[in-house]
């Protein structure tokens, strides 16, 4: 699993590339939490275009990061959910915990960001 971040205005966009399971969950959490703690972003978008696999270990990763951002008064969205993980996102209830957008641009626009 590779996590990369980019910053657009005051929004952090995190790109997930690879498979999110119990094995990769711990390092994924740490990578994200380091970025969140350092920069205290109030708006975070998880871009899932290249997330090729997720199981229930991934629920904790997303849910836990959402809690951190919300505790700081911020908000999170899932964007660009690809077909391989779409059904899991719905069955797991992650779709009800997060704002969902077709693309990161849609999320930025909805949040009133300049593209």
């Amino acid at each position: 699993m590779k996590i990369t971040g980019s910053i657009k205005n005051d929004t952090l966009i995190l790109y997930f590339n690879g498979e999110l399971d119990h094995h990769s969950a711990q390092t994924t959490k740490e990578a994200i939490d380091n970025m969140l703690e350092r920069y205290r972003f109030k708006k975070v978008i998880f871009n899932l275009a290249e997330l090729s696999f997720i199981d229930s270990s991934g629920i904790g990763v997303f849910y836990g990061r959402r809690k951190l951002v919300k505790a700081d008064g911020g908000k999170c969205a899932l964007a660009d959910i690809n077909q391989k993980i779409e059904r899991f996102i719905h069955i797991s209830g992650l779709d009800r915990m997060f704002e969902l957008y077709d693309s990161e641009e849609d999320a930025l626009e909805a949040w009133g960001e300049q593209l």
Partner: protein
């Protein structure tokens, strides 16, 4: 003459062997290390691929296997070393996968299967493992003995295209 020496139990064994030989079968054993979770699910998916399943079916099998193997590693062995065994058997329209460990066993299976129940709430576990297995497979059974291990058996039927 040797044949007449077979007792009933032997005949049962012969019958069982021949019935499982009719169906394509595989067995896999590996160390209970989290790095093997990906290996396990990809291997079962590759075995199932000969039934020409849809991509959605393959994803569901991979996810269910991943959940069962993760449970064996985190809960069965709880950080201790051990081995996980997987068997898979194909019929023309189904796959049955068993995932077994020789770990500590589950005290209360009904509770473990309940959505959102986790025995490790402080570790950010969602408690959704069994629920995901149940949603993605058609049949699931769990046998567990305290101190000797757990075996999860799950079957998925493929819809004919």
């Amino acid at each position: 003459m040797g044949r007449t020496a077979l007792n009933t139990k032997d005949y049962e064994q012969v019958e069982r062997n021949s019935s499982s030989m009719n169906n394509n079968y595989m067995k896999l054993e590996f160390s209970a290390e989290s790095v093997n979770e990906s290996f396990a699910r990809v291997t079962v998916a590759a075995f199932a691929a000969q039934l020409d399943p849809t991509l959605e079916d393959i994803t569901e099998i991979k996810t269910a296997v991943s959940e069962a193997v993760t449970n064996a590693i985190i809960h069965g062995y709880d950080g201790l070393s051990g081995t996980v065994e997987i068997t898979a058997e194909l019929t023309e329209n189904s796959i049955t996968v068993t995932v077994s460990d020789n770990g500590k066993g589950i005290e209360n299976i009904e509770q473990a299967r309940r959505p959102l129940y986790t025995s490790k709430p402080t570790e950010g576990r969602s408690g959704m493992g069994f629920t995901v297995m149940e949603m993605f497979m058609d049949k699931i059974s769990v046998e567990s003995n305290i101190g000797s291990g757990t075996k999860v058996c799950m079957t998925k039927y493929f819809r004919k295209a």
